[in-house]
C-alpha cells in the first residue's frame, strides 16, 4: 500500500519537513549575515563569562609582566652588578654579503659563548633587531675581546672572520656592539666593534 500515491497522506508530513527546510534557510542566513554570534541566552551568558575571565586574565598577564620585570632587575643587579657588568650585542646592518650562522666570543682568550642563529633570529637581525650575545662580569682593567663570525659570504662561500678589541673596564657598565656591515666597494662584509659606554 505504501507505494500507492495518495495526496492526503503526502501533504502533512511533507509540510513539516518543508518547514525544516525554511527554518534551515533562515538559520543559515542568520549565521551568514551576521559577523557576530547571536545564539540565544546561553551564548550571551558565555560571552559575559568570557569578558569576566578575559579581564581577570588581562590583569594577571599585566601583573606577571611586572613581576617578571622585577625578577629580571633583581637577577641583573644580583648577578651582574654595574661595577663589573659587560654586555656584548650583535647587530646586522643590511647583511647582503654575509649570512650569519654562528658567533664565537672570547674574552681574555676564554670562550664565553658560542651562539648558533636560527633562520627566525637571522630574519629578526636583518629587520633591525639586536641580539644580546653575552652578559657577564669583568674586573676593572684592560681585557681582550675576540669574536669569530661564521656564515656564508657571496656566492654561498663559507666565511669565517674574526675581529678583536681591547676594552678598558671601569666602574660603570660596559656595552659593546659587534656590527656586521656590508662593504660596498669590496662587495664583502666587514665587522665593526662599537663601545657604547
Amino acid at each position: 500500500m505504501l507505494n500507492q500515491r495518495d495526496s492526503h497522506c503526502r501533504t502533512r508530513p511533507l509540510s513539516n519537513v518543508w518547514r525544516i527546510g525554511t527554518l534551515t534557510i533562515a538559520l543559515t542566513l542568520l549565521s551568514l549575515f551576521s559577523p557576530f554570534s547571536v545564539r540565544a541566552a546561553d551564548q550571551a551568558a558565555a560571552t559575559s563569562q568570557f569578558k569576566t575571565l578575559d579581564t581577570k586574565i588581562q590583569d594577571l598577564k599585566q601583573e606577571v609582566l611586572e613581576l617578571n620585570r622585577d625578577l629580571f632587575v633583581l637577577e641583573e643587579e644580583l648577578l651582574f652588578p654595574a661595577s663589573t657588568q659587560i654586555a656584548v650585542f650583535l647587530s646586522v646592518d643590511t647583511g647582503t654579503f654575509f649570512s650569519l650562522e654562528s658567533v664565537e666570543l672570547k674574552i681574555d682568550n676564554k670562550t664565553v659563548t658560542h651562539y648558533l642563529y636560527t633562520e627566525r633570529e637571522n630574519a629578526a637581525l636583518h629587520r633591525g633587531g639586536v641580539h644580546r650575545l653575552y652578559l657577564g662580569n669583568l674586573r676593572t682593567g684592560k681585557h681582550e675581546l675576540v669574536a669569530f663570525f661564521t656564515g656564508k659570504g657571496t656566492h654561498e662561500r663559507d666565511y669565517r672572520l674574526g675581529t678583536s678589541l681591547v676594552v678598558e673596564k671601569d666602574a660603570d657598565t660596559k656595552f659593546i656592539e659587534l656590527k656586521i656591515r656590508d662593504k660596498q666597494q669590496k662587495l664583502q662584509p666587514e665587522f665593526e666593534v662599537k663601545v657604547w659606554k
Binding site: 500500500m1 534557510i25 568570557f50 617578571n68 620585570r69 647587530s91 629578526a124 637581525l125 633591525g128
Partner: protein, 624 residues
C-alpha cells in the same frame, strides 16, 4: 577563515606595522636603520620573532634601568602595541591615553585611538571600541581611513543600525584591500535594513567576481550561499539556483550549497533533481548539519514522488543515525564535563609564545572534539582557547621563577658568608699597609729630600758606586792628613783630582736624581693614598654590604609571596578558563543535539503518518 578572524589578523598586522612604522618602512626599503640604544634593538629582536612576552619583559627591564635614552617614546608606543598583541588591551589603552595626554602629535594620537578601537572590537568590547573611534579627530591616512569606516560600519551593524552602516560603507573604494569584505558587509547591511533589492544586486555582483586566492574564493562561496538562501527566502528559486551553482564543489560552503540547491529545485517542482543534490549530500560526513538535514530531505522528496516504501526506509535510516549521533554527542558532553577538552585541544601545541596570530587549526581525533568543527571556526572559542594557552605559558614561566628564586637566595647566602669570612683578613692586610709607621717613614723621606734640595746636597743622592768611591776617597784623605809633610805631593794631587771628579759627576747628575726622588715620593704618596682608600672602602663595605645583602634578601622575600600568589591565581584562572571552554563546547553540542532531536521528531511524525495512512487504507480496502 571567518570575516571576524580575518579582521583580527589584519588588524594586528596593521597595528604592529603602524606602531613601528619606521622599522617596517626601513625593512621595506632595505635602507640601513639606526638603532640608537642597543637595548631597544634587543627588544625588536624578540618582537620580530613574535615573542611578545620576552620582548615586553626586556622592554620593561630596560625602561627600569633607563636604557632607552634615544627611543623612550617609541619604546612606550611599542609597549602599548605589544600589550595589545598580548591581549592586554586595557593596559595598552592606558598607555595610549597617557601618550595622548602627554601631547603626542595628532597623527600618532589618531592612530593610537584607531588601533585601540579595533582591538577593543576584536575582543568584543563594542561600547569601548565606539568610544575610542569617536576620539579620532579629522581624517586618518587613506588606507587606515577605509578600515576605520569598515570598523565603524561593523559597530553600527552590531547595534542593528544597518541603514547607517550601509551609508558608511558606500564610501569604501572598490579597489582597496578592504573592498570585498566591505561590500559583503554592505550587501548584508542592506538586506538586513530591508533594502533587499540593492543588497541582493551587490551580493550578486560580488558573487560573480573572479577570486585570486583561496581566501577570496572562500569569501565568494560565502557570498553566493548567502545570496542563494536570501533568494530562496524571497521565493526566487531560479535566481537562487544560479547563485548556488557558483559555489565550488569542495569548500567549506559546499554542503550548504548542495542543500540549498535541493530546496531550490524542490521549489521549482523538480523533485527528482532535488534528490540528486541531496543524495550526493547524504554520502558526506554526518557531522555536518547540512548532511544531517539531507537525511530528512531525501525521504521527504521520495514521499513527494510517491515512493513511500523507500521513503519509509530512509526515514528509519535517518532515525537510526540521528539517535546514534545524539548518543555520541551525549558521550562527548560527558567527556567535556570531565574537564579533558582544554588539554586535549593543546595536546599537539609545541610552540611557546606565538601569541596573537596563534589559532587552533586542526581538531584532535577524540570523542570530545568530534563535534566541535563549528565551534572552532568561532571567534569566541578561539579567543578563549588562546587565553587558556597564554595561561599555560604564564604558569610555566612562574614555575620557572619559583625554581630560580631559592637559587638566588642560596647564592646570596653564600656571598654573605664569603664576605664575612674574607673581610677580617682583608681589613688586617689593609691596616698593615696603611700603618702609622709607613706614613712616618714617608714623612721622614719627604723632610730629608726637602733638606737635600735646600742644601743642594748632591752627595746625598749619590748612587751606590759613587757612595763607595766617596768612602774610599775619604779614607785616603784621612790617611794623607795623618802623614802630614811626609806625604807624596803627587798622591795628594791625585786624591784631590779624584774628589773633584766625583763632586763634578754628582753635581751634574743632581737635577735628574732630584726629579726622580721627587717622583718616587709622589708614587709613594699614591700607594699610601690607595691603601688608605682601600682600607676606607673595606671599612665602608663592612657597614654597607650587610645592608645591601639585607636589601637583596628583602627583595627576594617580597617577590616570593607575589610569585606564589600569581601562581595560585594563574592556576585558578586556568581551571576557570578550561571550564569556560568546556561550557562553550557544551552549548554548541547541546544546540547540535537539539537540532538532531528536532529532526528526529519530524522523522517519527512522518513515519507515523505514513503507517497511519497505510493502516487506514488497509482498513478501508474491500475484502477480497
Amino acid at each position: 577563515m571567518t570575516l571576524r578572524s580575518f579582521l583580527a589578523a589584519r588588524i594586528l598586522v596593521l597595528v604592529l606595522s603602524g606602531l613601528i612604522s619606521s622599522q617596517a618602512a626601513a625593512a621595506r626599503s632595505a635602507e640601513p636603520r639606526v638603532v640608537k640604544d642597543p637595548h631597544y634593538g634587543e627588544v625588536l629582536f624578540y618582537f620580530y620573532q613574535q615573542q611578545y612576552f620576552t620582548a615586553l619583559s626586556r622592554l620593561m627591564t630596560a625602561q627600569h634601568f633607563n636604557q632607552f635614552q634615544h627611543h623612550a617614546d617609541e619604546a612606550e608606543l611599542l609597549r602599548g602595541g605589544m600589550l595589545l598583541s598580548y591581549g592586554v588591551h586595557l593596559e595598552a589603552g592606558r598607555i595610549f591615553e597617557r601618550l595622548i595626554a602627554q601631547g603626542a602629535a595628532p597623527a600618532v594620537r589618531n592612530r593610537a585611538w584607531f588601533y585601540l578601537a579595533k582591538i577593543r572590537y576584536q575582543r568584543g568590547y563594542v561600547q569601548e571600541a565606539e568610544q575610542a573611534l569617536a576620539q579620532i579627530e579629522g581624517k586618518l591616512p587613506a588606507e587606515l581611513d577605509e578600515e576605520r569606516q569598515i570598523l565603524h560600519a561593523l559597530l553600527l551593524m552590531q547595534r542593528g543600525e544597518y541603514r547607517a552602516a550601509a551609508d558608511l560603507l558606500k564610501n569604501v573604494a572598490g579597489n582597496s584591500p578592504w573592498s570585498r569584505y566591505g561590500r559583503y558587509n554592505l550587501g548584508v547591511a542592506l538586506v538586513r535594513a530591508g533594502e533587499t533589492q540593492p543588497g541582493i544586486a551587490l551580493l550578486d555582483q560580488l558573487g560573480r567576481e573572479p577570486a585570486q586566492d583561496e581566501e577570496m574564493a572562500s569569501l565568494r562561496d560565502k557570498v553566493n550561499v548567502a545570496l542563494g538562501f536570501s533568494l530562496l527566502q524571497a521565493d526566487r528559486a531560479e535566481e537562487a539556483k544560479a547563485s548556488l551553482e557558483r559555489v565550488r564543489l569542495s569548500g567549506l560552503m559546499t554542503n550548504k550549497a548542495l542543500l540549498g540547491m535541493g530546496w531550490a529545485q524542490l521549489s521549482l517542482n523538480r523533485t527528482e533533481r532535488a534528490l540528486v543534490y541531496w543524495e550526493e549530500l547524504r554520502q558526506r560526513g554526518i557531522l555536518d548539519s547540512a548532511v544531517q538535514e539531507s537525511m530528512l530531505a531525501v525521504p521527504f522528496a521520495l514521499g513527494k514522488l510517491g515512493a513511500y516504501r523507500q521513503s519509509l526506509e530512509r526515514y528509519e535510516e535517518a532515525s537510526r543515525l540521528y539517535e546514534q549521533e545524539m548518543t555520541q554527542i551525549d558521550q562527548s558532553v560527558a567527556a567535556i564535563r570531565a574537564g579533558k577538552l582544554s588539554e586535549l585541544l593543546l595536546r599537539d601545541d609545541t610552540s611557546e609564545e606565538d601569541g596573537w596570530f596563534w589559532t587552533l587549526e586542526k581538531l584532535p581525533d577524540a570523542p570530545e572534539a568530534r563535534y566541535l568543527v563549528q565551534l572552532m571556526a568561532g571567534h569566541d572559542f578561539q579567543e578563549a582557547l588562546k587565553n587558556y594557552r597564554d595561561l599555560r605559558f604564564l604558569i610555566a614561566r612562574l614555575d620557572q621563577w619559583a625554581h630560580d628564586l631559592p637559587v638566588y637566595e642560596d647564592m646570596l647566602a653564600t656571598r654573605r658568608a664569603g664576605f664575612r669570612e674574607r673581610l677580617p683578613q682583608s681589613l688586617t692586610a689593609a691596616r698593615e699597609r696603611d700603618s702609622a709607621a709607613h706614613k712616618e717613614a714617608r714623612d721622614r723621606l719627604r723632610d730629608t729630600l726637602a733638606r737635600i734640595i735646600l742644601d743642594d746636597d748632591a752627595e746625598a743622592l749619590a748612587n751606590e758606586r759613587e757612595h763607595d768611591q766617596g768612602l774610599r776617597l775619604a779614607r785616603l784623605e784621612r790617611l794623607l792628613e795623618r802623614q802630614g809633610s811626609a806625604t807624596d805631593p803627587d798622591t795628594v794631587e791625585r786624591v784631590r783630582l779624584l774628589r773633584g771628579l766625583l763632586t763634578w759627576d754628582q753635581a751634574v747628575a743632581f737635577p735628574a736624581r732630584r726629579w726622580e726622588a721627587q717622583h718616587s715620593l709622589q708614587e709613594l704618596d699614591k700607594v699610601l693614598d690607595d691603601t688608605r682608600s682601600w682600607r676606607e672602602a673595606l671599612s665602608q663595605a663592612r657597614e654597607t654590604m650587610p645592608r645591601e645583602f639585607d636589601a637583596f634578601e628583602a627583595r627576594i622575600q617580597a617577590l616570593t609571596p607575589r610569585l606564589r600568589a600569581l601562581q595560585a591565581r594563574a592556576r585558578d584562572l586556568a581551571v576557570a578558563q578550561s571550564a569556560h571552554l568546556g561550557e562553550l563546547a557544551v552549548i554548541e553540542l547541546t544546540a547540535q543535539r537539539e537540532r538532531l532531536a528536532t529532526y528526529l521528531t519530524q522523522v517519527h511524525f512522518a513515519v507515523a503518518q505514513i503507517y497511519d495512512q497505510s493502516a487506514s487504507e488497509t482498513k478501508e480496502a474491500p475484502a477480497p
